[in-house]
Amino acid sequence: MRKLTLALLAIIFVYAGCDLIDGTNVVNPDLTLDNAVNSANSAESWLTGVERRTALVMNSFLTTAELSTDNYINRNTFFNQNVDGGVIRSIDTDIENTNFQFARLRNQASYGINTVIPDNDSDAAGTSVEAELYFYLGYAHLLAAENMTSLPAEGNGVPQGPAAHFDLAIGAFNQANSITADPSYNLALARAHYGAGNKDQAVQFANAAINSGSADFVRYINFDGVNGPGSTYENAVYSRQSFNDLQPLPRLDFLDPKFGDLGGTNISPIPMLKMEEAHLIIAEAHLSDNNLNLAKATMNDVIGLVDSRPTRAIDETQEGRIGNPGFSQRPNSAGFVVRADPSAPFRDGLILDRTATTDVPTISGTSVTTDRVDALSSGTDALRTLYLLRQEIFFGEGRRMFDLGVRWPVSNVEALNNPNVTGADTEPVIPGYIPTPYSTMDEFSADFDALEVTIAVDMNQVIADQRGNRFN
């Protein structure tokens, strides 16, 4: 009996001791999704995640989107090379990533609305948190509507065209607007209706935004220089200095780099929505109504607003204006005059002195003066000038592609996984009025003796002549 007791005791001690040497217990330091969304105020944290996602969306989209237009050229960098030449393919990894980021933003916003708030944090229902989630859901659809041939509106769904995405965006923005008032919701609705060609609603929400009491309202996409994400676009146009630098079209030189060094770990935010847009929409509506005077007055309003926007001194002496191929020198001093095409007049002040610290606009800038606007005498000239204003004001914000009518396709990875994708979805949209070759948009000639630069084609003239008014 004693032996048995001793044996039992020994077994108990050994068994108990095994706890001390059990090495199979592994604790994941990361939170599971269930635990994370079950924490207090999780909807607010989820919203922060959605806000952060917009920065990632821009990192994926913006640089390539700018390169897809006449705003920037790139041949000397490992940023996207194809889109500059109009080779816009479904296999393009930047386009694929943008497909993903748009969907991710939509998915995150949607999960916040449909799961986090109802299941985990019902206190957030009906608050600004829910309104913001709707806003970002709408923003995801708005980006898809403006820039893509088509995109599924849900995981593995049937790709939807721009009209459907504009409708989805408008629906989501209206939801946000119904919960709480915010100038950005009105601006977003104005932009979405503008994109969909709904003139009355676009003007209605543009006016609502203007009347909201924030005449210089800007809503930004923010980057985090400490925890990330940083800004890929700022990196592309500024931080990489002479290596891998993107070069602007010479007539837009004075706007570059719009986003530059703020010192320390601060990163320039990128405007997402700003009050200038409300005026620009109204001006285009006036032109659509053939009301040139009201359009000119509105364009002067927007110039006034732009002129009130801040500038920042940026030292780009390292960067210079070394272009490519072969690191050829691009126009780099204030002495140059530039014309928008061979038939346009030369204008000065468009190229800054790149051998010294220069001032560049941080929110909006334009070369268009009220005198130029006052001198406009035709609707076409006014529309060209309006699109020049749009181009300059939205420079570096990823908006030019929509004005040019260029759209990216559904990605090859989507097509390989999603049986609903058709061949047409995987094709880009390149309007017939875009010159051939596509890269003509970026071309110019420069006379370094006479200090004259001639841009090959004025795409704003092309828009005015061939694409016409958004509302017509």
């Binding site: 994941n28 635990n35 989820w46």
Partner: protein, 944 residues
């Protein structure tokens, strides 16, 4: 009568022991190499009848006392030598028997441990196991494990990823069995699994030079290394071994008076400049540096206690001046073995390594030293002397100011208890740890930023630094038992055991910006941020292995391993890995006696089928949130999508081979055909983009590898004075992703314009990019998007080793080669963009995107590289007698000759070393990397 009988019995009982005592003798002698006559220390002499024995001391002498008069059978065994059975008669108090033993050229009697659970004679194995002896290791004077393996492992490729200190090679055996994990085999030192990570998550990249744990495994005091590249021999290691196993066994000392050895090497190292485009780049970037190394080792012991110790230090100035790649290493390893009782022996080994080094910036990182090669400073061939000096001043100034360093401290120990329970039953318990702490320091001072022109002169508060610490702790415990049964013609070796290992990997990174110069303290900065990473995994399993033999002619191997692992999904059952092997030693058949040994002297056939696995990335089995900080608030996002069914990828390998020897074993061939299939391959494939979730690790794919491994060993000359042997290998490799499980292709490295991809029908990591087809008229006829532009895995590879000894002179040459792989040269692309390109882009229309002619930067990457030539001379003992036991001097040159089909180094790879921590890397991107340096040094070795 009874009394008398009792008395006589008593007398007998007293006298018999006396008689026995009187009739025992001592056997002594010397054991020497039959060819050279050199005494051999550490040879085991086992008296079978007495079940005891002895080992030779450092002079090759042995002594066995108290041997009753009689006839005995001695079994003489020694690593690298054929086992010898010798009969001896003891009939006097002192018997002397000098024995000569012969090198075991075929190694059939060599004891192999890897994959067997315990030591088993090679002739009983169906697998192809490479064993590198201490003598061969001594011929390759190096301080890094991968360099030691290079040229010594006939069936694996060991490709340098970079010449930068702290980086290590891609080690690749039988192709690429996984699209997830690195091809680096698991590494055991004295039975303890050690860190083999070739890159880590928070590594502060300097442009491709990933810090590798292979670079600081102490290679001191090694008795032998075993290498298995996969197949049935890895089944014992279960969910952790599909890439193969490297086992290192350290010396435990030789009985006898303590002996010491001191070695000193002094030399110079030079940059390998033939891969530079411009001579003047080399003039600007590189200057020869000095190297020095000192090593002291000691060994000795008694019958029951032996020890062995070795310590070394090595300093290298590097070739990028000033201070761009200098390094200092200190390394110590000691092992000792003690007989605690007649049945228990304790062996402990302890290793410590310290490696401190500086790095330079490579690839396309800001401040890359290779900017000078790709047009950032114009065309170096057109520089004036003044421009040359200005550029040299500029570059050397900022290289000198750039402070990038790493400090690795590593401690590793193994504690072993061996139990000899019965003659036929032994048991072993091993426990050990590997602790590796590496700290990286990356600093851009204000002075550096000013020198680069990034901030105006006079700036004092824009410096920044990043400090990254990685702490790895690996714990291994294993218990096993072995039973050996001999039943006449039949023999059975049974091994059962259980093994547990656990890895804890914790990384912290701290970035501070706005720093004043002079402060190395992150707290001095204006903005400080941190990042961490943690990965823990535990694996436990049991195994049973049976090796059955009949007449030393037929053998059957059977084995099974059952595993659980914390990285498996919650719904995944215990994983079972079986194996079976067959061996037929034809040369042991009686009919083989009729075969002329001058024709075929040895022939054996072998075949096996075995499974091994690779466990998934830890924590990929759970649905996680992404949580962190954004602009001062906490955010929640989707994290790892997770998969509760995540299980290890399983690699099934079939091997069929044979070993054949000709001309009295003077020419030996090992030929193996292998075919492996990895099912449930872990793919990080993307979902449909519209799902809006990141890629999830899933068991989706199937990958096949097959090839023929041929290793030849030719003993060209074998006389008392001269011995020349040549080793050469030829391996073929076919690798293909057979199925991607309906997932989309995914990227595992490279660039946006030309990446390394995984897709059905192509080799793992094949080169994918757009191909521009230019017709005979010089016009672009077609641009093929996402075309197959080549593969980084060679069709053929192998190595060559020459050992030539003449009297006291010995020469070692090691080389390796590959054919049929391709590599990318992004440097040339940069030169093209800088207007300095060569004629490959002739015909490309102006304004074309380089994304559309990626194919022009892919080249065949064939090479033959001579890794080492080493000459050693042992001074005649008459010169050193009375002073030292022996003295030798040597001269070595590393990386002396490179023959390549490319103008660039096709081997070094910045962008292809790994895809994340422990991730797959297939190389193939030679992107502005430092090639391994060329070293020339002399060595003095003194034994006393």
């Amino acid at each position: 009568m009874l009394k008398k009988l009792l008395f006589n019995l008593l007398l007998l009982m007293v006298l018999v022991p006396c008689a026995v005592l009187a009739q025992s003798g001592t056997l002594t002698g010397e054991i020497t190499d039959d060819r050279t006559g050199d005494p051999l220390p550490g040879v085991n002499i086992f008296v079978q009848e007495l079940e005891r024995g002895a080992a030779t001391n450092l002079d090759g002498e042995y002594s066995i006392e108290n041997m009753p008069y009689g006839t005995y059978n001695l079994r003489i065994t020694f690593v690298g030598y054929s086992t010898l059975m010798q009969q001896v008669e003891i009939n006097s108090p002192s018997t002397e028997l000098n024995i000569q033993i012969a090198e075991d050229i075929l190694g059939l009697q060599e004891i192999i441990v890897t994959g067997q659970g315990s030591g088993v004679e090679r002739q009983r194995l169906s697998s192809n196991v490479t064993s590198i002896s201490a003598r061969q290791i001594d011929r390759v004077p190096t301080v890094q494990l991968d360099q030691l393996l290079q040229g010594n492992v006939p069936n694996a490729q060991i490709r340098a990823s970079s010449g930068s200190p702290g980086s290590a090679s891609l080690v690749r055996g039988r192709g690429v069995v996984s699209a997830l994990s690195s091809t680096t085999p698991v590494i055991y030192i004295d039975g303890v699994r050690v860190d083999n990570t070739t890159s880590f998550a928070l590594n502060r990249s300097t442009g491709g030079s990933a810090s590798s744990a292979l670079a600081d495994i102490p290679v001191e005091n090694i008795e032998r290394i075993e290498f298995v590249s996969g197949g049935a021999a890895t089944t014992q290691f279960g969910s952790d071994a599909a890439n193969g196993v490297i086992q290192i066994f350290t010396k435990t000392g030789v009985q006898g008076q303590s002996r010491f050895s001191f070695q000193s090497s002094v030399g110079s190292e030079f940059a390998t400049t033939e891969f530079l485009r411009y001579d003047r780049s080399g003039d600007i970037l590189f200057s020869p540096g000095a190297t020095q190394e000192y090593r002291l080792s000691a060994t000795g012991g008694t019958e029951t206690f032996t020890y062995s110790f070795s310590g070394s230090m090595r300093g290298s100035d590097g070739v990028i001046q000033p201070g761009g790649d200098n390094s200092v290493r200190h390394s110590i390893r000691g092992s000792f073995s003690a007989e605690l009782s007649p049945i228990v022996r304790y062996t402990g080994s302890f290793g410590f390594a310290s490696h401190e080094f500086n790095r330079n910036i490579s690839a396309n990182f800001s401040g890359s030293i290779f900017d000078v090669e790709t047009g950032s400073f114009g065309n170096p061939d057109e520089w004036t002397d003044a421009e040359f000096e200005d550029n040299q001043e500029f570059i050397r100034t900022y290289v000198g100011l750039h402070d990038i360093s790493e400090d690795v401290k590593r401690f590793q120990t193994s504690q072993t208890l061996d139990f000899r329970l019965r003659e036929d039953l032994t048991a072993r318990a091993v426990v050990g740890i590997d602790i590796r702490n590496s700290g990286q320091f990356f600093r851009e001072s204000n002075a550096y930023l000013i020198a680069r022109g990034f901030v105006p002169a006079g700036t004092t508060d824009q410096g920044n630094l990043t400090q990254t610490d990685r702490n790895f702790v690996g714990l291994t415990a294993e218990a096993s038992a072995r039973h050996q049964l001999d039943l006449g013609d039949f023999s059975f070796i049974t091994n059962v055991g259980g093994q547990f290992f656990r890895n804890n990997d914790i990384q912290l990174s701290l970035t501070s910006s706005g720093l004043p110069d002079g402060s190395n303290n992150a707290n001095s900065g204006q903005d400080i941020s941190g990042n961490n990473f943690e990965r823990t995994v535990a694996n436990w399993g049991v195994y049973a292995l049976e090796n059955m033999g009949y007449r030393d002619t037929y053998f059957i191997e059977l084995g099974i391993r059952a595993d659980q692992n914390t990285a498996f999904g919650a719904d995944v059952a215990t994983q079972i890995y079986p194996k079976i092997g067959l061996i037929y030693n034809l040369s042991n058949e009686s009919f083989f006696d009729n075969v002329n040994p001058n024709f075929i002297s040895n022939l054996r056939l072998r075949a096996n089928l075995g499974y091994a696995g690779n466990f998934p990335t830890p924590f990929s089995n759970e649905v996680l949130a992404g949580v962190g900080g954004y602009l001062g608030s906490s955010y929640i996002d989707f994290g790892t999508p997770g998969d509760s069914n995540l299980k290890p990828e399983r690699t099934k390998t079939i091997e069929i081979g044979g070993d054949i020897s000709f001309y009295n074993d003077r020419a030996n061939f090992e030929v193996t055909y292998f075919e492996s299939e990895t099912t449930d391959a872990l793919f990080n494939a993307p979902f449909a983009r519209s799902v809006g979730l990141g890629a999830a690790l899933q068991n989706l794919g199937t990958i096949e590898n097959s090839g023929v491994e041929i290793a030849g060993n030719f003993n060209l000359v074998r006389t008392r004075d001269a011995n020349i042997s040549l080793r050469a290998s030829v391996n073929t490799l076919t690798n293909k992703v057979v199925s991607n499980g309906d997932s989309a292709p995914f990227n595992i490295g490279g660039f946006a314009f030309l990446g390394s991809f995984v897709d059905e029908g192509f080799p793992v990591g094949y080169l994918r990019g757009n191909r521009m087809v230019i017709d005979d008229a010089g016009n672009v006829s077609e641009i093929i998007p996402n075309d197959n532009l080549g593969k980084t895995l060679p069709d053929y590879f192998g190595n060559i080793g020459l050992n030539a000894d003449y009297k006291d002179l010995s020469l070692t040459v090691i080389a390796d080669w590959q054919l049929g792989a391709q590599a990318v040269w992004p440097d040339e692309l940069l030169r093209f963009l800088g207007g300095l390109g060569d004629d490959r882009t002739d015909g490309v229309p102006a304004g074309s995107s380089f994304f559309d002619f990626a194919n022009l930067f892919v080249e065949d990457a064939d090479f033959l590289k001579v890794r080492l030539i080493s000459l050693n001379y042992s001074l005649p003992t008459r010169l050193t007698e009375g002073l030292f036991r022996s003295v030798s001097i040597g001269a070595t040159v590393t990386n002396p000759l490179n023959f390549t089909s490319t103008a660039f180094d096709p081997e070094v790879t910045g962008a292809g070393i790994a895809n994340g921590q422990g991730g797959v890397g297939v190389g193939g991107f030679s992107y502005r990397q430092l090639s391994p340096n060329r070293e020339v040094y002399g060595t003095l070795r003194i034994n006393f």
